[in-house]
Symmetry: C2
Subunit: 222 residues, 2 copies
């Protein structure tokens, strides 16, 4: 049987998994809002970000209370400090989904994403969904293998990102500067989303194996 | 007289101040590298980021050790968890300086920043320098007034950022898409740098006053 302290630790972890799922749902809705120029969906995502922020506050407060009351050591302490960092990454991923929704909203009723780069953003959306689903699994099951797969998925996102720039810089880009700015920022938001997923994965790997990877999200270029 | 535990806490805080100063120096060098198309300076900044990352690791490890050995409660615990978050913001600010240097490097021997937007980036660099200097003061002295000033400085950065977009979208922008992409990303890096400074300031305010502001860096738009 688990004591109430370890029950609380498990429950915080379950909340992190739930938060990852919410972030995934936000990102997937944001991508749809962007590709369909659906302002109602965009508004949903923008409003929904408050809930993600509130979840972060709640989890931060609970980790703080656990530290104060239980004064954990060793593995449990590492679990709690890891949770504190994961919750920051997840919240930032939620922000990025909201940023994408805001671009869709800003250009409505036009499409922010011209036809030529639609396939790239569709793919970026798919990779983002895959990333956050795996991130949830990594948190739930401390699945080191899934964590390592995330690195490959992140490479795929980087490739999509580079492809976008190639399209923007091709001689016959007909949509002008404003559209180029939108696409540059959107590409960056998807790329950063992937970086934060990798950061979470690396933190869980470190927790499980004790082996530190390069300093996570910060090492990403771009 | 202070015990060794509080000496260690003070020393961690001093390291955070030193880290903020290093980040300021990186950012200021990055701006010079950008405006002067100085590849040697750009390389310095890019190489120097490893040191910032190492400082983060070091401070994180020390906060972890303090938590494990001293099992602090109440105010001391809050100080340590605040330090854990500040160090993450500072490290990210260092990354952003390196990103700026990388754009300068990528366009060398050309200038990444055309003459028309040079004043905007000069100003962005000045505001960034002001922000990080105040951030260091906020950390060193728990100066709530300086922390509140940072919000105004952040508004100034947002205005510069919006001005950049206006310039890019003016009818007579002659520098094409590639330059627009560079400037969009550069503008974003300076803006995020300011956001993280505000995040640090808010965390220190919360530590001192117990009053929570909007959830820090995450609430920023863009």
């Amino acid at each position: 049987m688990r004591d109430s302290y370890h029950e609380e630790l498990d429950d915080i972890n379950a909340c992190l998994v739930e938060m990852a799922n919410s972030v995934g749902s936000q990102m997937s809705t944001a991508t749809t809002a962007l590709l369909d120029a659906d302002v109602a969906l965009a508004d949903l995502v923008i409003a929904g970000d408050d809930q993600i922020d509130a979840t972060r506050e709640n989890i931060e407060q609970r980790t703080f209370t656990l530290l104060a009351r239980q004064q954990p050591v060793a593995g449990d302490l590492r679990t709690i400090t890891t949770a504190m960092r994961i919750v920051a990454d997840l919240e930032r991923m939620g922000d990025l989904a909201a940023h994408i929704a805001k671009v869709a909203r800003m250009r409505f009723p036009d499409h922010a994403v011209p036809q030529e780069v639609r396939p790239a953003f569709l793919e970026a959306g798919n990779v983002a969904e895959l990333l956050i689903t795996k991130t949830a699994t990594v948190i739930a099951k401390r699945d080191v293998e899934a964590a390592q797969e995330l690195e490959t998925d992140d490479d795929a996102m980087d490739q999509i990102h580079r492809g976008l720039f190639r399209q923007l810089l091709s001689e016959d880009w007909p949509h002008g500067i404003e559209s180029a700015i939108d696409i540059t920022l959107l590409g960056r938001y998807y790329e950063r989303f992937a970086d934060h997923a990798v950061s979470v994965a690396r933190r869980v790997c470190y927790l499980v194996t004790g082996e530190r990877y390069d300093s996570a999200v910060s090492s990403s270029s771009g």
